[in-house]
């Protein structure tokens, strides 16, 4: 899939601009605060109807404007598609797909932002969310299982508090624990499956950049129906006192091990960043297997903190992508050796070339 052109109007710091993109590597460059990330966000928003920043819809509208509009034209196996999205100042949105009012959410786009470094650096929740998000895209049954588990967990936590207050009886827990155990077993099985695929693909990518070796270790708090059910039962008193379920897939840990060392605690900034970027490229691989077509890869300021050598290697990998759209600071332009489609951004205006 390839994004060919976007038109933006009153979106973030852009008044009105048309930007064309090419197959292969597209490099958006410029000084800080000129609108590089805003341009990426516009593409991502047009494709997915979501921002990759923690932004309210109304934040997307240019200050002083009533509404913002993004139009994207992209080409895939299904032909050319035109998506138009309009955001009102009050946060209301409208979407047109090929000129007709509709709903559209492209799955086939992978995006890296600074926030994603937390997949490696952050709390276990970040790793679980990363893995679950991929699995949910590939498997609707898994997606349903996650939502079923969350609902049952929410209900059981509420029930634990009610028991603590003397408003409910302990035997009412049985039914919820049965659902959690059944659903939890399916989630653990799904995670094992996707983690081994992620490990295989990312390890191969890492070996293509240096001699490193990546393992992903998964530590489920309980890995089958019976253990989970028993553990929940055994921990009831403690959990009633806390009013919180402490065991289950929502507490599982996953550890990235690079060359035998825990990447979160012992890895360098560069190794952490490199691994997260490769995890993103791996995601593109897994989505391609499922969707039958390579998606768009979007990387926001991937090269800061990375040495020249690592950056060059990632650029080599990006050249193999059908389309990669990245932002970079002007002083890191050398990393691309003049190969690619260069887009310069200055105060919300775009020009092409170096």
């Amino acid at each position: 899939m390839i994004v060919e052109e976007i038109k933006i109007c009153d979106f973030r710091n852009y008044v009105e601009e048309k930007v064309s993109f090419k197959r292969g590597v597209n490099v958006i460059y410029g000084e800080n605060g000129q609108g590089k990330t805003n341009l990426l966000e516009a593409i991502f928003y047009a494709l997915t109807s979501q921002s990759f920043r923690k932004a309210q819809n109304s934040d997307l509208v240019r200050e002083g404007a009533e509404r913002g509009i993004v139009l994207a034209e992209f080409k895939g196996v299904m032909g050319v598609k035109r998506i138009a999205r309009q955001v009102e100042g009050d946060g209301n949105t409208r979407t047109k797909v090929d000129g007709k009012e509709g709903v559209y959410r492209c799955k086939n786009v992978v995006c890296f932002t600074q926030e994603d470094l937390l997949i490696v650096k952050g709390e276990p929740q970040r790793r679980r969310d990363f893995v679950d998000a991929i699995m949910c895209q590939l498997d609707r049954v898994y997606e349903n299982e996650i939502s079923r588990y969350r609902k049952a967990l929410h209900q059981r936590n509420e029930l634990l508090k009610m028991i603590r207050r003397g408003e409910a009886q302990e035997r009412e827990l049985d039914a919820w624990e049965e659902i959690l155990a059944e659903s939890g077993e399916n989630i653990v099985a799904g995670r094992k499956k996707i983690l081994s695929a992620i490990e295989e693909v990312t390890d191969r990518l890492i070996k293509s950049v240096d001699e490193s070796d990546l393992q992903i270790r998964y530590y489920p708090t309980a890995d089958n129906l019976n253990t989970l059910r028993e553990k929940l039962k055994r921990n009831r008193q403690k959990e009633i006192a806390r009013g919180l379920t402490l065991i289950g897939p929502h507490r599982d840990e996953m550890v990235f091990v690079l060359n035998g060392r825990n990447l979160r605690t012992k890895g360098s900034q560069g190794q952490q960043r490199m691994t997260v970027i490769l995890l993103k490229l791996c995601t593109a691989d897994l989505l391609e297997r499922y969707l039958g077509e390579r998606g768009v890869v979007i990387l926001d300021d991937f090269s800061s903190e990375l040495d020249e050598e690592s950056t060059t290697r990632i650029v080599q990998l990006l050249k193999k992508e059908e389309q990669a759209i990245v932002t970079t600071n002007r002083n890191r332009l050398g990393d691309f050796r003049g190969e690619g489609w260069f887009i310069s951004v200055q105060e919300g205006r775009v020009s092409y070339g170096l």
Binding site: V141, Q155, L159, M162, A168, E172, D174, W176
Partner: protein, 198 residues
Amino acid sequence: MYYTPPIERLIAELARLPGIGPKSAQRLAFHIIKVPLQEAEDLAQAIVEARRKVQFCRRCFNLSEMELCEYCSDSRRDSSLVCVVEEAKDIVAIERTGEFRGLYHVLGGAISPIDGVGPEQLRVNELVSRIKEDKVEEVILATNPSVEGEATALYIANLIRSMGVKATRLASGLPVGGDLEYADEVTLGRALQGRREI
């Protein structure tokens, strides 16, 4: 106050109905004001009559004009077989199949701690005493296939199994008459899990 008091009052009463917000209440109120008087009187009478005459069946808590509903008072129906549903409207759905000849039991909802609904708020105790008194042999749990419906079915199943009564659950599976390729993954996955030998 923006409207004359009778209209204000009508809007306020309508807005108390489920699913009716202030805007819809206003629209309905103005519609009622515009229709012929007879039509408005018919509506008012229908509301009062339904409310006065309809009560809960003393045995199964279905809605009924009599003390016992039409199913509970039908001697041809099998009283050893009880189908447990969340709401009275679910009975209509099962009756339409023409497949079920037993009796019903309406719980009045599903267990949901976050909404403050536990077994005590539902007609679970009534079901238990009914099973004892009426010599029920099998209970079919026909609660909704939502997480809350599932939990309710599991809770009741545990309860009545200890009484030596058979508990069964509705199967979830494929819609009849559809093509397999159009079934959604979740339904198809469930149908696979619940497959039977033929």
